[in-house]
Amino acid sequence: MEDTAKIETTGLNLYYGDFLTLQDVNIKIPEQNITAIIGPSGCGKSTLLRCFNRMNDLIEHTSVEGSIVIDDQNILEPNTDLISLRKKVGMVFQRPNVFDLSIYNNLKFGLRIHQMLNKKDEVMQAVRQGLEHVGLWGELKDKLGKNARMLTLEQQQRLCIARVLILKPDIILLDEPCSALDPISTLKIEDLLRVLKQEYTLVIVTHNMQQAARVSDYTGFMYLGKLIEFGQTQQVFTNPKEKLTENYISGHFG
């Protein structure tokens, strides 16, 4: 049975000034699955990812055409509440970007911004759940007051994921989340993503083709701003339909 689409773009064009960065992208991101977006540098994969929570709005001279529907709502409509959109569609970046605050306050930060929980015990409960979710509670429960920057990069990245989870999003966007991590930490984060997909829809942009193959259920291949191929990861990596995809994933490119 086909998975239901959590995000669906139709005729999505994105311009940086006059430059057409995304060209007629039509993609359906399946719910509660991991979707990987791969492609060479500059192909538009991060731009596409940032469309899903309208992070591109922060870049000047950006204009968008087409539609991006999340839960029956076209998020490109001008009346879209960006704060709640970004709460619903969380994002994790390439390098862990923990705040120069304690572990506890890193997690509490988002709750406070979104005015979600005010009572101390409720916040503590949410912090605990967030850390448990990413497998950090055991190691950090006695160090919640320590500065988050003291943590290893892997722990910091986990903390960043916890910081997203604590806001109870539906979708988590991950832009090269493991590129700053060593192979073991990378595998641990991938294991975490597999657990998270039971509850969340994950979209991961990665340069690491093996990571896409290992961790994702669906893969989209982008080239020069176009979505060239989209399909089940197993199919894309064993028997891609498009020659361009084949050349890229097998390294016979250029």
Binding site: F237, T238, N239, E246, S250, G251, H252, F253
Partner: protein, 221 residues
Amino acid sequence: MVRENFCKCIEDLEKEVTQMGQMVIAAISRSVEALKVLDTDEAKRIISEDVLINKKRWDIEDKCIDLIATQQPVASDLREIVAVLFIVGELERIGDHAEGISKIVIMHGSEPLVKPLVDIPQMAEKAVDMLKKSVDAFLKRDAQAAREICSEDDKVDLLYEQVYRVLLNYMIENPRTITRATYLIWVAHNLERIADRITNICERIIFLVTGTMSEVNVSRY
């Protein structure tokens, strides 16, 4: 073109598969020639040379495993390596059938053949032709050719039935021929199995080209 080194490795792999194919083809032809003239010395040589075919298989398998481990092949590169792993397994077993025919030559000894060989050399010729064409289809990535080769297996099956019927008659008419006739039925059976294994190779070629695995020709045996 990037990954020149990897492409070179794949080319080398294809060359080795071709070489192994030629070794196996020679073993089939020589074993049937040895049977025709009951040359037990040649049969012994074929048996002793089977180790070279086996070694070739292990060498090729090692190279495939190295490529998987070090190059992380995907898509058609991966399918090719997987196909090669299966193809060399089949080739090695075909070599064993040729060895089996040679063993029968030795068992048969110097007693005259129960009848002049007609269908058995035809079976061998057909099998060798199929094998040559399948190596070619592998190198050319020709799925259509591979399908056509599979359909030729029926002809080998028909020849096998014919050999079996004729020799059965000999045995019924003259029970003193039973041992020698049985040897020839065994030879024909080996040749029939060779043709079946060639269809397995062709299935792998189709998989390599199309990415889907299917049984192309269900043999009657």
